[in-house]
Symmetry: C2
Subunit: 115 residues, 2 copies
Amino acid sequence: MTINKSLMTGSTTMLVLKLLEDKDMYGYQMIEELAKRSDNTFSLKAGTLYPLLHTLEEQEMISSYEENADSGRVRKYYSITKKGKGMFAEKKNEWQTYTSAVNQVLQGGANFETI
Amino acid sequence: MTINKSLMTGSTTMLVLKLLEDKDMYGYQMIEELAKRSDNTFSLKAGTLYPLLHTLEEQEMISSYEENADSGRVRKYYSITKKGKGMFAEKKNEWQTYTSAVNQVLQGGANFETI
DNA sequence: TGACATATATAGGTAATCTATATATAATAT
DNA sequence: ATATTATATATAGATTACCTATATATGTCA
């Protein structure tokens, strides 16, 4: 099942913050982790993620540090801040309100009176 | 709870088609009905809805007819077509795939192994 | 008669994605 | 050895689905 990209809008930030609540990660890892956890429903694009990470860092929702991988390659790890944890809680709340409202609309219908 | 407008992206068409699956409606009525059914979580804007209705009609997902209200005012009613019902089924499917993927990501976490 | 609710419509702006492209290193295959 | 693929990060520009603002017109109520 391919997901219309516009459905993603607004929840990407929440998903990234959620990953970082679990543990520090570098960008490429987040893309893979998100695909894995969603059974490949999500394939977040690098061109979406990296600018988003820069914005979140500017807003002090996350912070970064460099670390050498075993391979010798340098990776840029991100860590969620206290402020970022607050933002995640808010976004999660919003998400729950939103989905339950949509589901409520989807349930309601012509036969409402007969329930 | 105010919903970030970007969360709406992608589900508005589905919600409009859902309303029309239940019964024929005119634009203004859809705005009110959507607010009511979602306990005011959604307040779809006229500037969003009317262009969307025009697009859906062009795509033959819906059709329209004019009818006189008791007030004497003329209203433009919309009706969902067979093609539109197909689109709704698709969108609903997509919605379910998407939300369950997001919820799966939100559940998974650092303590995954201990579950 | 003035304000507000009902009803539809369009122009222009914003924001969050995407694709395409660039750069660089490591691993693997030919 | 060399070409390709995977890893890793970055930015520019396009797309799209919303929004606000504005316009028009009629009905209702104070």
